[in-house]
Symmetry: C2
Subunit: 293 residues, 2 copies
């Protein structure tokens, strides 16, 4: 199955599932603010990737929903807090006013906190075994906390207006954006109960896609449109951030980006050779969809 | 055992356990900021109460540590975010500069996020059954999220400069402060595997102590010292908040406060009559320690 076909089929049901986890009859300001950012859309890449991968291994993909929803809630909370005046001070996100512009700074802080908290509640309701639930709760906490995403955001701020090395940039981004993408692969592998070798390949693919994803973001921040990126372009330069293009030049950044994706495609082929029932097209076409024209 | 004796014996080991959950060799800014607020102290009432109650039922109290630590991390993150300029804008907490004064607003937001996230990671490491771990993770998420603490904080802000009814004030505070105290009782009951009737009594005691706790805070904000309260006094009046004394007058606020504690003491007696091994002195003396001179 092509990832685009999968997305057409699964995006809407997943979004309905996601929003229904929060809304109740007496919607308060805080619930409204949470839903405002959850509903703002985006491609839902992380959660759809998680669900798609479980399906690719021919396992019941509905068991992935709570973890996919938790992942999207954590991604969304991080955007709300990232956009705050004290952080990136962005007024536009996915073409709409950011949460603190629409509501208030205080409500945006609380709505972010509430989404982060809800993510962990949602995971306790999974249909998989208690052991896997606890493994994934621990994994998502580590991926999004001070050793993961939050630590990467702090390091990213600390690195503003400094000349960073490629290793430093990679360390920041593997935490800031890579680890949540990584979680999608790891969670899918655990839910689909794949063997150790396949889990290992999934981990390596995740790392490569994580790096590719950041290079892509950096490139689009220079040469993309606001429509393409869903947020204001040129923000990195404004904030004095070291990026892949600023460090390597645009041509080598493009080369590094292509290398990551091609290596990921090769590893996906290796999984297919091992797992006969594996629908490799889902991940293949996902990787292809990341390519830049 | 007297709660004061218990505290003397357990506070330091618990604090050591708590801090060691975070610090590692290469302490980064974010870890430093997390530890700064965790180490700022306070009485550790919630976690010590949880540990003490498990001990009072003559069960292994060490199994309570991860949940006590998670509770303290969530309490601490809420103070960090509460103190932010966009929220209560406090510069003093427990006699020390607040997190955003010591570091920066951005770091304070991230340190709070990281503590909240870490709380859920820590709970996955408990020694109790997977079933109880998941129950407690769900319970703490509900108690601290938009249906609990965060929702209460939003409602508290929305109620500023408005005349609220007693029912509205109680609804705000049962969420804002009550539900975390409630978690200590519920978690202890589940970890100690008490029967349904005792669990019910613990829940009722928790509610009464939660209300008492808030009235006490309101009274001290009017008539206490900064040393006693550990933060600036007079903040409620400054922010135009409806409080128990502002609504009932000081005398009736004191009376309501005493009633809550006395009813809690009676219920604790009822537990003793049912559970022969129960050390009722721990909770008795804790309740007595809340009384105002």
């Amino acid at each position: 199955m092509h990832f685009q076909t999968f997305t057409k089929e699964y995006k809407e049901p997943f979004e309905t599932y996601l929003i229904e986890l929060i809304t109740n009859e007496s919607q308060t300001v805080i619930e409204e603010a949470m839903c405002y950012s959850l509903e703002a859309g985006g491609k839902r890449l992380r959660p759809l990737l998680l669900i798609a991968l479980v399906k690719a291994f021919k396992k019941d993909e509905t068991q992935a929903y709570p973890f996919a929803a938790a992942l999207e809630m954590i991604h969304t909370y991080s955007l709300i807090h990232d956009d705050l005046p004290a952080m990136d001070d962005d007024d536009l996100r996915r073409g709409k006013p950011t949460n603190h512009i629409k509501y208030s700074e205080a409500t945006a802080i609380l709505a972010g906190d509430a989404l982060l908290t809800k993510a962990f509640e949602v995971m306790t309701d999974g249909t998989c075994s208690n052991e896997i639930k606890l493994l994934l709760i621990k994994e998502l906490a580590r991926s999004s906390g001070y050793e993961g995403m939050v630590g990467g955001q702090q390091a990213d701020m600390d690195g503003e207006h400094k000349q960073l090395s490629l290793i430093e940039i990679e360390s920041i981004h593997s935490r800031k954006t890579g680890m949540l993408i990584h979680f999608a692969f790891k969670a899918a592998g655990l839910l689909a109960k794949v063997d150790a070798e396949t889990l290992n390949d999934l981990n390596t693919i995740a790392k490569k896609i994580g790096i590719a994803y950041q290079i892509r973001d950096d490139i689009l921040d220079v040469s993309g449109s606001e429509e393409e990126l869903g947020k204001r372009v040129g923000a990195d330069a404004k904030q004095g951030k070291s990026t892949y293009p600023s460090l390597l030049g645009m041509e080598r950044a493009h080369k590094l980006f292509d290398d990551q994706l091609n290596e990921a495609l090769l590893l996906n082929r290796a999984i297919l050779e091992r797992e006969e029932n594996y629908d490799e097209e889902l991940l293949d076409s996902f990787i292809e969809s990341l390519k830049l024209n």
